[in-house]
Symmetry: C2
Subunit: 239 residues, 2 copies
Amino acid sequence: MRYELYYWPEIQGRGEFVRLALEDAGADYVDVARVEKTGIAAMVRVLENHSVKRPPFAPPFLKAGNLVIAQTANILFYLGPRLGLVPKGEAGRLWAHQLQLTIADWVAEVHDSHHPISGSLYYEDQKREAKRRAADFTRERVPKFLGYFEDVLKRNPKGSSYVLGKAISYVDLSLFQMNAGLRYAFPRTMTKLEPKHRRMVALHDRVCARPRLAAYLSSPRRLPFNQEGIFRHYPELDG
Amino acid sequence: MRYELYYWPEIQGRGEFVRLALEDAGADYVDVARVEKTGIAAMVRVLENHSVKRPPFAPPFLKAGNLVIAQTANILFYLGPRLGLVPKGEAGRLWAHQLQLTIADWVAEVHDSHHPISGSLYYEDQKREAKRRAADFTRERVPKFLGYFEDVLKRNPKGSSYVLGKAISYVDLSLFQMNAGLRYAFPRTMTKLEPKHRRMVALHDRVCARPRLAAYLSSPRRLPFNQEGIFRHYPELDG
């Protein structure tokens, strides 16, 4: 099965959580909107096609045979067992998904730290509000989420190397991305917090040492963090 | 199976999406935190119990036998087939879940329309920012979400009575709740928008005419909308 991923071609964004799973598994996939010249038009064609019976609200979405699946966590729920990136039983899959949904909430809060008023206004037009929101985000929310996942790692009865059992899952890949993104966006905050979240840091290092993922991260397929994505570095927002 | 739902006892909030499914299906359940005297303590005990292997990040969560499942959409994904509130096949379940996750995003935006800076500050302490955010929310986001679900109803190849096929699903119940909540919070905005979203209004009426749901809605089990929940009525935020 050749998967087709559709996502904005110039940012990591939410699509990156799916890319990391596909790359780590060595899956056969096309990052459709990044195909030169024709890519974005192909994505827009799906979004504007009124004969699609199950229209996505927004990218990312995945085409897998006849299926069109949207919502990042839903895509990972579907891909997980097919890529060997989640336990097979229902209880394990639900637990992985629950964690992924909590990551999705965290991602939305990262976005709103620089866009607390509207996604359709420039940062400069909501900078004053962003300063207030980011102050709360770095002081209250980042420690709360980091602490939660640190605790989840600690409680794993099979050891703290990964969040679920003994093997890596797509949730671990997503937590790597959260850690990397927060380091980019909020370096001062993370320098302060990382010593208290050693399992999360170790997980980050363990994930990016995986051969296929390391190859991906140093390839041109990995877009750099930038000021258009979800993780943005504005020094004035960094604690 | 007697389900145990755990959620804040004084608001509809996110727990209400689960309550509507349990009530419509006539399921056997306890709304644990609403049991007088002992309820909240029982919920806090689970949240603070360090021997829980799969800790929820926050309520709502559901106990189903040995399982503890959190995240509203994940709970509904689990309950859907057991309550007969979703198609049985994988494609239908994923599509229902994708829609539920889009509703979850919408719910988060409703919350942030009155709390754009921090969930731990009073409304009065972020009223100025709330006015800006709510102006964008009522002008851009509510029409976008309403229009999307109106279109989903329109595209259903089995007719526009429900979002999936010919039968009701938990997604329809959740859309009823969105419509009802938005009417409470933003009556002027909804009076303006409803004539353009007739399928959504018809769905609302169809859902609340269901005998079990009608009985629930007129019972004391249905908490009234209030100024502590996700849907709050501040006239100055209503378009």
